[in-house]
């Protein structure tokens, strides 16, 4: 590379061999994250460490807060300060964050939270893999809201989905969770970071009217209000109380209904844009596996081995966990005899799948309770045993 004035680049274009945690941090930097607030926790700490190293070089700020509550509310403050902001944690930290994730939902504040899952409940298995925070990311905070949660399965995807998480956060104005797991966070594989010009960046919609006319919570037809931030002269007013289009507290049934419906519907009506799945050999499949995160890697191996033996198995890999791909799974249920759901928890996604299939096909969960990942042979055995 020629000698440029700026020595440090947001986008570390090139081929790397690195971990999921570093890849996710690089993804965040590539899309323009300029503030990280966090508190150390295994197995996510490498994200904070990488941001501590890289952010100052890029004119950004890293603050190690006193706990995860300060971290989440700090990044919400930074987002209202006008920059893309994030935090990273694991289950215990995510538990501390949920009240203020709800504040982010209610105030429509873009930011991302990375949860590198470990085994729970409680302190559980700090250094070992889990996928037990699926429902917490959906229902963790009180009240009704529709979260967006993305779930990578490779180091490359940690990078790419960190970018997408920010893009959804900016586009739909909400905190988005990137739900990784310990295996992904700590495993190393090839990461290809494209040229800066190839990084698709979405920025929050800005108001076009004057501060005098502006109503900060008046949504456009897409149900998303343009976002003026602090310092732009719009004198924004932000509250977690039920508020009207002016942003003023207005504690009545109508205002509540209108607001809560809108912040849910802005996601519900855009499921097509948000829901991503990968289909692998599903066209002629008689048996399907639904998997996500690092377990999906093993599941792919199971499909390959089954195919070698002439068993028609395919994989539906969930990339978007929330909103849940109900329709896609319902359609799958029409086609296959049985759906297997290997997951590192006691049936969180299995129950969602059961809900979606409406009894049209059999659903069987293959559970590990944390600490280890399924191996391809194990899943295959289960399928063969039932055949």
């Amino acid at each position: 590379m020629s000698k440029q004035k700026q020595k440090f680049l947001e986008v570390s274009t090139g081929e790397h061999f690195t971990t999921g945690n570093h890849a996710a941090a690089e993804g965040a930097l590539a899309v323009g994250c300029k503030f990280f607030g966090g508190y150390p926790i295994t197995p996510s700490s490498e994200i904070a460490e990488h941001m501590a190293l890289r952010l100052p070089q890029l004119g950004g700020n890293f603050v190690q807060f006193e706990d995860e509550i300060a971290s989440i509310i700090g990044i919400l403050g930074a987002s209202w300060g006008g920059v893309k902001s994030m935090t990273a944690t694991s289950g215990p930290g995510y538990s501390l964050m949920v009240e203020n994730i709800g504040f982010g939902m209610m105030t429509e504040t873009p930011c991302i939270i990375i949860n590198v899952q470990r085994g729970g409940p409680s302190t559980g298995l700090p250094t070992l893999v889990g996928q037990q925070d699926i429902m917490q990311t959906k229902w963790g905070s009180h009240g009704d809201f529709e979260p967006i949660v993305l779930c990578p399965s490779s180091v490359q995807e940690c990078f790419e989905l960190a970018i997408e998480a920010f893009n959804y956060a900016e586009k739909y104005r909400l905190p988005v969770t990137l739900l990784m797991d310990e295996t992904l966070g700590h495993m190393s594989e090839r990461l290809i970071i494209p040229d800066a010009s190839k990084i698709g960046k979405v920025e929050r919609k800005k108001p076009k009217d004057s501060p005098e006319e502006h109503l900060p919570y008046k949504a456009d037809d897409d149900l998303i209000p343009p976002m003026a931030v602090a310092g732009e002269g719009y004198r924004v007013m932000v509250t977690g109380l039920t508020h009207d289009e002016r942003g003023y507290p207005n504690l009545n049934v109508e205002t509540q209904d209108k607001l809560v419906r809108r912040i849910n519907d802005k996601i519900r009506l855009n499921k097509k844009d948000i829901i991503r799945v990968e289909e692998y050999l599903l066209d002629d499949a008689e048996i399907a596996i639904i998997a996500f995160g690092s377990v999906a890697r093993a599941a792919k191996g199971s499909v390959n081995r089954a195919r070698e033996k002439g068993i028609k198995v395919g994989l539906l890999r969930l990339i978007t966990i929330w909103p849940f791909p109900d329709e896609r799974i319902e359609a799958l249920a029409e086609k296959v005899k049985k759906i297997y759901v290997p997951e590192i928890n006691y049936g969180q996604i299995t129950r969602e799948v059961e809900r979606c299939v409406h009894g049209k096909t059999e659903v069987k969960g293959i559970f590990k309770l944390g600490g280890s990942i399924h191996n391809p042979q194990e899943i295959l055995k289960e399928i063969e045993g039932d055949a």
Partner: protein
């Protein structure tokens, strides 16, 4: 606040027009509550500071005091209970020119949010924190809190409070605040002066305002009217800028020591340090 001040706020032309949000008055504060006059002097202090109003952000937590941010016509943030300080840090470091003022209650800042306060003081975050200490949880109906003094009656201390309260100026000073003052809401002139000085300061500045809450504190402690609390303050207050902050705890019978206790110059702020770090890290050889 007094009734006629209240009327002033509701009248057509108010000297602070443009600084209060249109359509937000009348406010929720009880008659005799000091939060109205504290709001007034805060606006005056901000206004007279000469800071570009665009560069002012006011952040509150949850509580009666926590409602103040929402009345002010600056960028204003009514956050969650206990959390205005870390939110303010996020706002502050993202624009070194922004003046971020936190105003919240004693429960908000020192019970649920206590850790954030001491850590922000330690970091010398470039924010001004105002605590309106009304010795109780006003908004939730008068429970005891971390500044309730021994023997004080509240709904959750029906036999009189048992616990030692925080000495807030001492806490702030010990944790590294560069400016620390305490005044009573009776002395609005000094409160305003303290607000002005705190706002002009770079680094973590702290003002404790002893407020009057006739509704949930006064009623249970023979001080049922706002005026009575102010009279009580008038009788008990002793001005002493040189007081050792260790000696200014509040109890039922001793004098209440007020004054400006700490005023330190030139201590690098969190923002200064972060900006310096950017320069240093960028000067290093690129990888």
């Amino acid at each position: 606040m007094t009734e006629d001040q209240n009327e002033l706020l509701e009248s057509e032309a108010h000297p602070l027009d443009g600084f209060l949000r249109e359509g937000r008055i009348p406010h929720i504060f009880c008659p005799g509550c000091s939060l109205g006059s504290i709001t007034n002097v805060l606006i005056e202090a901000i206004n007279e500071s000469g800071i570009d109003p665009k560069k002012v952000a006011v952040v509150s937590g949850i509580g009666c005091t926590g409602r103040i941010a929402g009345y002010l016509n600056y960028d204003s943030f009514h956050t969650t209970h206990g959390r205005p300080i870390p939110f303010a840090i996020g706002l502050s470091v993202t624009d070194p020119e922004r003046k971020v003022i936190v105003i919240s209650g004693d429960g908000d800042l020192f019970a649920i949010g206590g850790n954030h306060f001491i850590q922000a003081a330690r970091r010398n975050a470039d924010i001004t924190v105002v605590c309106v200490n009304n010795f109780n949880y006003g908004m939730t109906g008068g429970q005891a809190g971390p500044t309730t003094y021994v023997g004080q009656f509240q709904t959750t201390s029906p036999y009189g409070s048992l616990e030692e309260p925080f000495n807030l100026p001492n806490l702030a000073a010990t944790c590294g605040a560069v400016y620390v003052a305490r005044y009573t809401a009776l002395d609005v002139r000094r409160v305003k002066e303290a607000f002005s000085e705190a706002i002009a300061k770079s680094g973590f500045s702290f003002v404790e305002v002893l407020g009057s809450c006739p509704t949930t504190y006064g009623r249970r402690n023979q001080l049922a009217e706002g005026k009575k609390i102010l009279e009580f303050f008038a009788e008990k207050t002793v001005l002493n800028h040189d007081a050792d902050t260790r000696d200014i705890r509040i109890d039922k019978d001793s004098p209440i020591i007020v004054g400006k206790f700490v005023d330190i110059e030139d201590k690098p702020t969190l923002t200064d340090n972060l900006l310096a770090l950017q320069r240093v890290s960028q000067a290093k050889k690129g990888r």
